[in-house]
């Protein structure tokens, strides 16, 4: 019994918390505002954990994460609207909007796959380039993606693209549940779980080996190019999933929301949480989302306060909240209470 509880305690907590959120959303205990903050929290958790894979575990410095998010957002939105919603660009839907509910996870995953392919834009140069130089490449990748989208008039260019709300509505027409919170919860858990499994396998430990000594990794039989490709693609692919969810939550995307400022926001979350710590990234994504909302009354001054906080953080606790450790390392007793694999 104790063993079972330990084994499934995380599942239990997640199921209860997720269930509580969905139930209260369904009963409208939660306002639309609270609900959307909760959903952005999920998106931010996905973004920060996936960026941590590259910046924390692999020790590279990617500052173009929002670019991959944009690819995921646009691919899943365009595909969704083209297939399932009446739209000014694509005209009548190709398929019955009733199928939208079942196709939705596939749409998000396709967005993720497209973003993973876009990740090759950074993965291939990373074979020969490291550190600062690779950081510049990631910024360039971010700009390439944003500029490309801005210059395609058919999908709205810099004005953006909308129509995803219709898809969300048709999902709710089929089964009357708050579908967006449900999908966000599912994909958030899925993303963290995939990353966790990856980095804890001997295969994925190659990522840390590259971070700590790339020459030794290659000499000790780690195929560094392969590991880099897999890691960059996984990281950007998961960012693409976050982008897809983001697009459907807002019902509207424009290239401006995926610029370098957004990438910086994700970077702040990773450094706040601690490099190479998944639980740190989750914690900081949650805190950061709350912080952003609390500072909303400050409007544009917010962007003075938050960077200032970052400076203070770097001065007094450069390793972030968790600093390369997981929750279980910080509180060893907790380890007895759960198993997360």
């Amino acid at each position: 019994m104790v063993f079972m509880l330990r084994r499934y305690s995380i599942h239990l907590i997640l199921a209860l918390a997720g269930g509580a959120i969905v139930y209260s959303a369904d009963q409208e205990y939660l306002g639309l505002y609270t609900l959307s903050v909760l959903m952005f929290m999920g998106v931010n958790v996905i973004l920060s954990t996936s960026l941590n894979l590259v910046n924390g575990y692999m020790g590279e410095f990617s500052c173009g994460h929002a670019g991959f998010m944009a690819v995921g957002a646009y691919v899943s939105s365009l595909l969704g609207v083209w297939l399932f919603a009446k739209d000014r660009v694509f005209g009548v839907p190709l398929l019955d909007p009733g199928y939208a509910l079942y196709a939705f996870p596939v749409l998000i995953l396709i967005g993720g796959v497209a973003a993973a392919l876009a990740g090759l834009l950074v993965a291939v140069p990373s074979y020969k380039t490291r550190g600062d130089y690779l950081a510049i490449i990631t910024i360039a990748a971010n700009y390439i993606i944003i500029s490309a989208i801005e210059n395609i008039g058919a999908i709205g260019g810099s004005r953006g693209f909308m129509g995803m709300k219709r898809l969300v509505n048709s999902m709710e027409d089929v089964v009357d549940l708050p579908w967006m919170p449900i999908w966000v919860i599912i994909f958030t858990i899925l993303s963290v779980w995939v990353i966790r499994r990856y980095v804890s396998s001997t295969f994925g430990k190659g990522v840390s080996a590259i971070c700590q000594d790339e020459v030794a990794a290659e000499i000790m039989s780690v195929n560094t190019n392969k590991i880099k490709t897999v890691t960059f693609m996984l990281s950007s692919g998961i960012a693409g999933i976050a982008g897809g969810l983001f697009a459907y939550i807002l019902g509207y995307v424009n290239p401006g929301s995926f610029n370098i400022l957004k990438s910086t926001e994700v970077l702040v979350m990773v450094y706040l949480g601690g490099m190479g710590s998944l639980s740190g990234s989750i914690l900081s994504a949650i805190l950061f989302t709350i912080l952003l909302e609390l500072l909303r009354p400050l409007q544009i001054i917010k962007w003075i306060v938050i960077p200032l906080l970052l400076i203070i953080l770097m001065q007094f606790r450069p390793e972030g909240i968790m600093g390369n450790r997981e929750l279980g390392d910080l509180f060893p007793r907790l380890k007895k209470l759960y198993r997360f694999k």
Binding site: R197, T202, F203, S208, A216, A217, I219, N324
Partner: protein, 266 residues
């Protein structure tokens, strides 16, 4: 084709180098270097500082591509192979300045060195398939066994940077052996060790040589280590082979004395 025929020959050399030359810009670091290491040998490579010893090791482990010449591991040419492929052919090495993964546990250091024969890939690691479970169990078991024979098991969950220097050296050798090499290259294993550690290292290398049935080729400046361990020694200076033979011949070879102590005719 040629590779296969060579490999099938009885007693093919574990390592064969023919006419190896490496130039960095105008500098010739290694010039027309030849060697044949028969299985089970324990031989040495010495020379004054900057003679090109480590360059030879870097060439053998695939870290550089030679300007000229060929390298065969067990009869297989390594031209164009990336270092991880060369390791998969059965070459492992240690470094002059220890290069462990300092923030990974000792156990993980040993496990990751089995990377080329994991037998599963990304999707298995996510799905935690049967093959994944089975291989991870085997990897963990093998790593634990290796730590035990090296008497390092009590450090299994420590990170290498907290270990004493001598233990780090030992761990680096253990990590190299974790990749099941046929040929083990030791680059100055006694560097930075005190004399009692050096005695222990000599015992350790001799023990590894027997226990793991591995061919060892080492670079070392401590002549007593070389004299005691090696049966064959090659001496290079400015990339040129200047002498080779048993420790005794090498020690008294005039060219070697000149290379180390200088020419008194100046």
């Amino acid at each position: 084709m040629m590779a296969q025929t060579l490999a099938q020959t009885e007693n093919a050399p574990v390592l064969e180098i023919r006419g190896l030359t490496q130039q960095f810009g105008g500098l010739t670091a290694v010039n027309d270097f030849n060697v044949k290491l028969t299985p089970g040998g324990l031989s040495g490579l010495i020379g004054p500082n900057g003679a090109g010893k480590t360059t030879v090791f870097n060439l053998v482990s695939g870290f550089y591509q030679p300007t000229k010449g060929q390298i065969f591991i067990d009869g297989v040419p390594t031209a164009g192979l990336k270092p991880h492929k060369v390791t998969a052919l059965g070459v492992a090495r240690t470094f002059q300045n220890i290069r462990l993964w300092n923030d990974m546990t000792v156990l993980d250091n040993i496990r990751v060195a089995q990377h080329y024969r994991l037998g599963y890939g990304f999707f298995h690691s996510i799905a935690r398939s049967k093959r994944y479970q089975q291989r991870e169990d085997e990897i963990a078991k093998e790593a634990a066994e290796l730590l035990e024979v090296f008497d390092l098991q009590r450090f299994a969950l420590d990170v290498p940077k907290n270990l004493p220097y001598g233990t780090q050296r030992k761990l680096e050798i253990a990590r190299a052996l974790s990749s099941h090499p046929k040929l083990l290259l030791l680059d100055e294993p006694a560097a930075g060790l005190n004399s009692s550690d050096v005695q222990e290292l000599i015992r350790l290398i001799r023990w590894i040589h027997k226990k793991f049935d591995v061919t060892i080729w080492m670079i070392e400046h401590h002549m007593d280590v070389m004299m005691e361990l090696c049966t064959q020694i090659k001496v290079i200076d400015f990339g040129q082979t200047i002498a080779e033979g048993t420790p005794e011949t090498v020690r008294n070879h005039p060219a070697v004395i000149t290379a180390y102590l200088g020419d008194d005719n100046i």
